[in-house]
């Protein structure tokens, strides 16, 4: 019970932050439109940005007045989430340097470790990593040689 109350206040704080963020996005958009030379390119972003500021503002205020949201990140291991995301982003930065396959392998390995909740055994070790290698090779070949995508 105490735990859920905690996650409630966290959820409320998060909603406030996200709402505020959207208000800022709207304001930045409005500021950006002032530099456009063509009236046609201003009308739409300005209108939409106003809608965003308004709706996100209302969301912020109602959140503040009635902090009863049950939102939140939910249970789960943070290191797994971070490992997945960080290896994928890392792969993306390394791709032009080391090539597509090695970079893809980093992301694959990250995802594999992050998603592995059971204890590793010799069998799973061999099977999963072997499967990963095959999958990556097949997709790489398919895109590079059959579809002629210039993978780095």
């Amino acid at each position: 019970m105490a735990k859920s109350a905690l996650s409630n206040t966290k959820g409320n704080l998060g909603s406030l932050v996200v709402s505020a963020l959207f208000v800022v996005v709207g304001l930045v958009t409005l500021w950006d439109t002032t530099s456009y030379t063509d009236r046609d390119s201003q009308v739409f972003p300005q209108t939409v940005a106003l809608v965003l500021v308004l709706t996100a503002g209302i969301s912020f205020v109602t959140q503040f007045l009635r902090p009863s949201e049950s939102d939140g990140f939910g249970p789960g291991d943070w290191w797994r989430r971070l490992l997945l995301v960080i290896t994928m982003i890392l792969a993306c930065f390394l791709m032009p340097v080391v090539g597509f396959l090695p970079a893809g392998a980093i992301a694959f390995a990250g995802g594999l470790v992050a998603a592995m909740h059971d204890r590793w055994s010799i069998k799973t070790l061999l099977l999963y990593w072997g499967f990963g290698g095959v999958i990556m090779m097949v997709f790489f070949a398919l895109f590079k040689y059959a579809l002629h995508v210039p993978l780095p």
Binding site: F22, D40, F44, A49, V51, T55, A56, C92, F140, L147
Partner: protein, 502 residues
């Protein structure tokens, strides 16, 4: 439209091509980021050495298969394989989570075949008159159509409409980033080269739908989809009965899909959304859209496959392609020496009719092929260990996003948007309104700017936006869609109050 063309579409070679095309297309469509456009673009040279009609049958079969294949990823991974399948995620993924993924895939197959046939027959019998629809749709009609699509946000985010609207507005702002399509500015790039090309719809869609699923999957040891203990046989019969019960929904959605498909620039995603919206609006009170309602899948899937036939109407009759795959087929036709445009049906009639028959045959072949592949796709997604599923899907999102525009930047933007989408979704700003805004934003903006320019030039702005019959009809539907749920909700709460008091 003679028997001979039907028979020439039926040669063993053409049948084999149609079958191969449907299977290849289904696989292509099911992989997020691998688009029908890409597969077709690569295959066009192969068709140079074929009979024009055979070449067209192959291309058409791949296209229609890909639109159906998009449903797999939508249902089993909450990630539309193609933009056409966006609305399929709304009910498809909840169904899969409840353990009805096999049923959902079978339903999608029946609906796709039905919709595909309606679209193809419309192309066969009604193409010239239907092409008038494409021309009757002016900028203002596109504007109102996009507003109608956006009105779905209100009913999608039943929990919190304000947050849904904010998400939609945010998506529309995302859609303006980069070099403006029809005006002379570069917007919201803050001097960065990365954002010049803007957020591509497919990349953004993969990020917003697929990355959050992956992040949630790794966090806990729970199974990805619920599986019944007794492994049931294929639920084809059950799916067929459900489809039979929803005859009206299927017909209506297929007609919507055909009509929206005819509009160049709208495409399968808009068709699916409009059909979903209509199915939801006319639903009976006990149907729970958004929580795994079979009618939701059937509406989207029949509508998006109907756009295949519909889209070929302006492509073949007017020479104006509706979607990128249509454009590639058009290019292949031109190279083959076929003149599209107003004279095509009279001058190159036999090729056109053989192609349409081929499309119909391919759609029919999709029934056995689709059910078989669907069953296999479901089984493999369900049985594959999570530790392998997550990195495999992750790898596919990277390679798929890259290959859309051969851009590492797009992969990075996809990942950023994915993480951002995951965070905001945890606080009530779900992905669908953002994606809707991203897809419909450009249609709304262009329609508005063009409508306003023409209206101001002819000094009749009010008449331009509110005086045209098609606009009025779309506007009326939009208002009904917005008001009915509000009215229903009020009546429901009043009933509740009464029962609470009593």
């Amino acid at each position: 439209m003679e028997l001979s063309q039907f028979i020439s579409a039926l040669t063993p070679f053409n049948l084999a091509l149609a079958l191969f095309g449907v299977v290849a297309g289904t696989v292509v469509g099911s992989i997020p980021g691998l688009t029908a456009t890409m597969a077709l673009a690569v295959l066009v040279p192969i068709t140079f050495s074929m009979e024009p009609a055979s070449a067209l049958i192959l291309l058409g079969a791949i296209y229609t298969g890909a639109i159906y294949g998009g449903a797999y990823a939508a249902i089993l991974l909450n990630t539309p394989g193609t933009p056409s399948a966006i609305a399929t995620t709304f009910d498809g993924y909840p169904m899969a989570k409840k353990g009805d993924g096999d049923l959902a895939v079978a339903l999608a197959c029946f609906a796709s075949v039905f919709g595909g046939l309606v679209g193809a027959f419309a192309l066969l019998f009604l193409a010239p008159p239907l092409s008038k629809v494409a021309l009757a749709f002016g900028p203002v009609e596109y504007f109102w159509l996009s507003i109608f699509g956006l009105s779905l946000i209100a009913s999608l985010s039943s929990g919190n409409v304000i947050k849904g609207l904010a998400g939609g507005a945010f998506g529309m702002i995302l859609s303006t980033v980069g070099v403006a399509e029809i005006s002379a500015d570069i917007r919201l790039t803050f001097g960065s080269q990365m954002l010049i090309g803007g957020f591509g719809v497919v990349g953004a869609m993969i990020g917003l739908y697929c990355i959050p699923v992956l992040i949630d999957l790794v966090a806990t040891p729970d199974r990805h989809l619920k599986v019944e203990d007794d492994v049931r046989s294929v639920r084809i019969g059950e799916a067929f009965n459900l489809a039979m019960k929803s005859k009206f929904n299927l017909v209506r959605s297929s007609i919507i899909g055909t009509l929206v498909g005819i509009l160049p620039g709208a495409g399968g995603s808009v068709a699916g959304l409009v059909a979903y919206s209509e199915a939801k609006r006319t639903a009976s009170p006990e149907q729970r859209f958004g929580e795994g309602e079979p009618d939701g899948i059937m509406a989207t899937e029949s509508a998006n496959n109907a756009t295949v036939g519909g889209g070929f109407v302006p492509t073949l009759v007017l020479g104006i392609p509706g979607t990128p795959p249509d454009a590639i087929v058009l290019g292949a036709l031109l190279v083959q020496g076929v003149r599209t445009g107003p004279t095509m049906f009279s001058q190159s009639g036999s090729i056109v009719y053989t192609f349409i028959y081929g499309l119909i045959i391919a759609t029919l072949l999709m029934l056995p092929a689709g059910l078989l592949i669907g069953r296999y796709a479901y089984k493999s997604i369900v049985t594959i260990p999570k530790a392998v599923l997550v990195p495999t899907v992750g790898f596919m999102t990277i390679i798929g996003t890259f290959s859309i525009r051969n851009s590492v930047t797009d992969v990075f933007l996809m990942l950023c948007l994915g993480v951002f989408g995951w965070v905001v979704a945890k606080f009530g700003f779900s992905a669908s309104p953002i994606v809707l805004g991203l897809i419909l934003g450009p249609i709304a903006e262009q329609g508005f700017v063009q409508g306003w320019t023409i209206g101001a030039a002819t000094k009749n702005l009010f008449g331009m936006f509110f005086g045209r019959p098609i606009s009025q009809a779309i506007l009326a539907f939009t208002l009904i869609t917005l008001i009915v749920p509000l009215y229903m909700a009020r009546r429901k709460s009043r009933v509740q109050e009464v029962s609470d008091n009593g």
